[in-house]
């Protein structure tokens, strides 16, 4: 399910994450296992995750993508990214459920989560905030806005 992306392999990455392909530039300080500038995108529309990957990589982030809701939580635990960008409508398990499960795990409680949804209703926004999202964005988004949000969440 993981998306192949074009960047150079990160040699400093610990072993055991072979399934996740990464791209991106330098890593500054070990915030998690995935590194301080690692972003995990959980999104099942390949074109959208491709777009996000491109935008963030150009800004110097290391981006990993994952498309399935079922084992998304395992992936987050394994990668320990600095930020999770999470879609709501996912096959297997919804984004809200994954978020709730994250917040119940001590290790993942503080990882910032940027919630994305295509439904764009205020009810969804409330639900996301209750579940513990750090930020909520409706699709379609502006690239600069997305980039600003990512910087803000990881820099904070």
């Amino acid at each position: 399910m993981d998306q192949e992306s074009g960047g150079p392999p990160d040699v400093s990455r610990p072993a055991g994450n072979g399934a996740v392909t990464e791209s991106g530039a330098a890593v500054s300080g070990p915030r998690g296992q995935g590194g301080g500038r690692a972003v995990l995108v959980i999104e099942d529309e390949p074109n959208i995750s491709e777009a996000i990957r491109f935008i963030l990589r150009r800004d110097g982030w290391m981006v990993m993508t994952h498309a399935d809701g079922h084992d998304a939580l395992d992936k987050i635990e394994a990668v320990r990214p600095a930020l999770v960008i999470l879609d709501v409508m996912l096959p297997g398990r919804s984004g809200f459920e994954i978020l709730r499960a994250m917040r119940e795990l001590a290790a993942l409680r503080l990882v910032p989560v940027l919630m994305l949804t295509a439904k764009g209703q205020s009810a969804d926004r409330d639900l996301a905030m209750q579940a513990g999202a750090s930020l909520f964005m409706a699709k379609p988004f502006s690239n600069t806005e997305l980039l600003a949000s990512v910087r803000q969440l990881v820099g904070a």
């Binding site: 099942d44 529309e45 074109n47 959208i48 491709e50 777009a51 996000i52 491109f54 935008i55 150009r58 409508m89 996912l90 096959p91 297997g92 295509a118 439904k119 764009g120 209703q121 409706a138 699709k139 379609p140 988004f141 502006s142 690239n143 600069t144």
Partner: protein
């Protein structure tokens, strides 16, 4: 010369009979296809003539021999049936009514059904019938070979060889026309028509010989009467006890003989025909007996001493040079023999297959699951095998016994055997206290006495029963001598056996019934049999159905029932039956609730094919329903007709209320679902529109920045923008399409094309979905040559959608798609069945709703509007698309009129069951 002529005449006659049977069958089929009943084939005349299967070769030849030996005593054989038809036809009417209501297939089935749907009783009756009928069939074979040789004295043919050919030919005829299909009513139009023609032939032959004797040889009636008086012998003296006994015996036989039950009850298509038969059949018998005595007297007078009187009908005209008349007489005797053998073997084959072969087969497969094969072939083959077996037994009996004894004796022995069914039969119709144990005991004891005191001794001393036993009784116990039971001496062996077997049978039946406790099913059946005339019109408006809900019924069981019914009734018939049942319950689709009423009707439907006991056992096995509720028992126990009627009315009312409530509940559930769906509809539209929009916006913003984007990335991203905008357009197109279709504003583009061409196109177009998967397509292109006049493009769109869905979702390792097409009453039905896991029951009702994508896999593509559009298209074409459960995979049925312009008011036609509730909510 004579020999060849005879062979030629017999063959020509047989071919004539085949032709008659064939055309009658064809005519009945075309009439049935056009929805009419075959009126002539099922007229009172044909019915009455078919009853003449009672007059076998024994009557045709043997009656004259009988008259030559014993004078007027032969009349008793005609007297009994006449008394029954004139005086006891209310008994026959009740028999026919009960048998129709319970869909009885044979006399064994009737007895089994009444006594608790128990197969054990059915097996006893079947074995008894086979034992009694075997010598009788042998008798027919013997008469044919005797008459053949009487004709060709100069060139005698080995009787056994001849009998073998006859038996084989009859087996062929019976298998061809008696086992064509598993007709629910067990009716055989072709055979019955052929039998009716044979009835005419034998009557004409006997009358012609009689007329020749009376007016050709003697000088008219007065002269004949004088000659009869002169010829009277001492042994022609009337013996009152033999007269009473034989009349009683033949009266019993007309009701209990399996072949009589077959034509009288099973082949009866209209109860009112009995009224005509009640005078016409005695008239036929009277005509048959009119010239018996004159022929006998003239035969004794003219033919040399020692000529076999059993063949006077044939030898008399032949001796006097009337070859043509003799030929007619031969064909008459041939007709009499063949008609008996055909009907008897059909009746016995039904009994053997329903009560012995199929139960054994089911038992041997118990625990091996349902299976998928067509069981009709199994049942039909069991019947074919049984027919061969019965005729083989008859031939064997003839070959072994040598066929030397007087014809009439064997016939009477068989009568006494079948008479053992009488107590159980009468008890079944008139005594609610009669129990299965009683019927079993009576049948077993009566049959035993018959075997011991009549059938086995009839082979002659020392063949089966030794001469010492005959003389002194077994172990020297003299009161057990076969011909003098309990020390009763001096009685004719036949009357002796008749008296003791029926007496012991009846006493055992009554006593055991009184002292045994009937099971609930028996009680319910007893009430349905005895009170058949009180239960309204046709007697099957079951007051106390033999079923009750057994705890939690899931739809799985109904689906299993559907699978079993399909195997026995054929897929089309079974699905139509289930759909109709669901409709009367106020439900859509193919799976009605397993109410007691539904199970009862289903059991009767299946009983038409495999008999009551087996059908009952199958349904119990699948549904796990216990048989009878306390309420049912109370209804049975309550003797007051008023209370029963009152409760029946209440029940009808409460049933109606329940139906209305069910309809309301379903409507309400539908509305709630729709309301939820409407909420999610906007949200889903938003999602479906925003998703491609997101990619478009993100990539166009990327492309707007000149820097950091390489050339090949630029091309790739422009491609994505292009694809996503096409996706958006397609989604909007689908939405608009659906909206136009739903409002019925669509303009149909009507063209003419062949179904197979459409399917070719659709298969080719759907190949682009997951092109890597190899699909096996099974088609019957010959069935697809149906010319359609409809919106070809729209119809192809539906086919493509169904086929593409299968390509996407069929999860079988080696996916197979089976496409079958057929025409029914101007409509075309196309089934698409794959071998995947199918669609789970809870989702079956939802798949035709908008955005109802069962899995969330976006790889499947599309927005979940495909089947909703398909349904709207089909409604616009005056047709429908539905999901058919229980086909071993996902199965979609597309049905539509072949010519859409002939359908008035497309959207509201009965073939287009658009859901009014749903429409109102949109």
């Amino acid at each position: 010369m004579m020999f060849n002529l005879l062979i030629f005449a017999s063959l020509a006659y047989v071919i004539f009979l085949f032709a008659i049977a064939f055309f009658a069958e064809r005519r009945a089929e075309t009439l049935r296809a056009s929805g009419r009943s075959p009126r002539f084939l099922r007229s009172p005349l044909v019915y009455t003539l078919s009853l003449s299967v009672y007059c076998t070769a024994w009557t045709f030849y043997g009656a004259v021999g009988y008259a030559a030996r014993s004078g007027l005593e032969f009349m008793t054989i005609y007297l009994g049936p006449t008394l029954v038809f004139v005086g006891w036809w209310w008994l026959l009417r009740k028999l026919v009514r009960v048998a129709k209501a319970q869909r009885v297939t044979s006399i064994a089935d009737l007895i089994a059904s009444r006594y608790g749907k128990s197969n054990a009783v059915g097996v006893i009756v079947t074995l008894l019938a086979v034992a009694a009928a075997t010598p009788y069939i042998a008798l027919q074979l013997q008469s044919i070979s005797l008459s053949f040789n009487a004709f060709t004295e100069d060139q005698p043919v080995a009787p056994r060889q001849l009998a073998l050919y006859v038996a084989a030919g009859l087996a062929l005829f019976t298998i061809l026309f008696g086992t064509r299909n598993l007709d629910a009513n067990e009716q055989h139009h072709g055979v019955v028509t052929a039998i009716a023609v044979e009835a005419v032939v034998k009557l004409v032959a006997l009358l012609a010989v009689g007329a020749f004797v009376v007016w050709g040889l003697a000088d008219g009636p007065a002269d004949i009467i004088a000659r009869i008086s002169a010829a009277a012998r001492p042994e022609w003296e009337i013996q009152p006890n033999r007269w009473v006994g034989l009349t009683l015996l033949s009266a019993i036989a007309i009701v209990t003989l399996p072949r009589m039950f077959q034509v009288l009850v099973v082949e009866n298509s209209d109860e009112s025909h009995l009224a005509a038969a009640s005078w016409a059949f005695p008239l036929y018998l009277m005509l048959m007996s009119l010239f018996v005595l004159p022929i006998a007297v003239m035969g004794l007078e003219i033919l040399p001493e020692g000529t076999n009187p059993d063949l006077f009908v044939l030898t008399l005209p032949k001796a006097l040079g009337q070859e043509g008349l003799a030929m007619l007489a031969f064909l008459g005797g041939f007709s009499a023999a063949t008609s008996m053998v055909i009907i008897a073997s059909i009746a016995l084959a039904t009994m053997i297959s329903n009560h012995i072969v199929v139960p054994l087969w089911l038992a041997s497969r118990a625990g091996q699951g349902q299976g998928q094969g067509d069981m009709r072939a199994l049942v039909l083959n069991a019947r074919r095998l049984s027919i061969g077996l019965i005729l083989g037994l008859g031939y064997l009996y003839f070959a072994v016994s040598g066929g030397s004894r007087a014809l009439a004796a064997i016939g009477l022995i068989a009568f006494v055997g079948m008479a053992q069914v009488l107590p159980a039969l009468v008890g079944a119709l008139y005594w609610r206290g009669a129990s299965r144990m009683g019927a079993g005991a009576g049948l077993l004891l009566g049959s035993f006495v018959w075997l011991y005191a009549l059938f086995l001794p009839s082979f002659g001393p020392d063949v089966v029963i030794s001469a010492t036993v005959m003389e002194a009784g077994p172990f020297g116990i003299s009161w057990l001598r076969p011909y003098a039971l309990f020390g009763v001496l001096g009685l004719d062996p036949l009357l002796h056996a008749l008296f003791w077997s029926l007496a012991i049978n009846s006493v055992a039946f009554i006593l055991v019934s009184l002292f045994s406790f009937p099971s609930p099913v028996e009680r319910v059946q007893a009430a349905q049999f005895v009170n058949v005339f009180d239960l309204g019109g046709r007697g099957d408006v079951a007051l106390a159905p033999g079923w009750v809900r057994g705890g939690a019924h899931s739809e799985t069981e109904v689906e299993d029932l559907l699978i079993t019914a399909q195997r026995l009734m054929g897929a089309t018939e079974a699905q139509a039956f289930f759909q109709a049942e669901a409709l009367t319950q106020g439900k859509g689709g193919y799976l009605p609730d397993p109410t007691p009423e539904f199970l009862d009707r289903l059991e009767r439907e299946l009983a038409g094919s495999v008999g009551t006991a087996t059908a009952h056992a199958m349904i119990v096995q699948i549904s796990g329903a216990s048989h009878v509720s306390v309420a049912d028992l109370m209804a049975v126990a309550s003797e007051a007709a008023q209370i029963m009627e009152h409760s029946a009315q209440l029940e009808a009312k409460s049933e109606e209320l329940a139906r209305t409530a069910r309809q309301l509940r379903e409507a309400n559930e539908m509305l709630q679902k729709l309301s939820v769906q409407k909420d999610s509809f906007l949200s889903q539209i938003s999602h479906e529109l925003r998703t491609p929009m997101t990619s478009i916006r993100a990539f166009s913003e990327i492309l707007m920045d000149e820097e950091g984007v390489e050339r090949d990335e630029r091309i790739k991203y422009a491609g994505i923008i292009h694809d996503e905008s096409i996706r958006l357009t397609r989604l909007l197109d689908d939405l608009l399409d659906l909206s136009v279709l739903e409002n019925g504003q669509v303009n149909l583009d009507i063209q003419t094309a062949t179904l197979s061409v459409l399917l070719d196109r659709a298969l080719q177009a759907s190949n682009s979905v997951q092109p890597g998967r190899k699909f096996t397509i099974l088609r019957q292109v010959a069935d697809e040559q149906i010319v359609l006049k409809t919106d070809i493009g729209r119809l192809t769109q539906v086919f493509i959608n169904v086929l593409s869905n299968s390509r996407k979702y069929c999860d079988a390792r080696d996916p197979v798609m089976r496409i079958s097409a057929r025409r029914r009453a101007g409509r075309v039905v196309v089934d698409f069945i794959d071998n995947g896991a199918g669609i789970p029951k809870i989702s079956q009702a939802l798949i035709f709703e908008k955005f109802a994508r069962l899995t969330d896999t976006h790889q499947a593509g599309g927005a979940g509007l495909g089947l909703a559009i398909c349904r709207e298209i089909m409604h616009n074409l005056g047709g429908d698309i539905s999901y058919v459960p229980g086909q071993g995979g996902a199965a979609f049925r597309v049905s539509f009129p072949a010519d859409v312009s002939r359908v008035q008011g497309r959207r509201t036609s009965p073939g287009a069951p658009g859901n009014p509730v749903e429409r109102a909510a949109q």
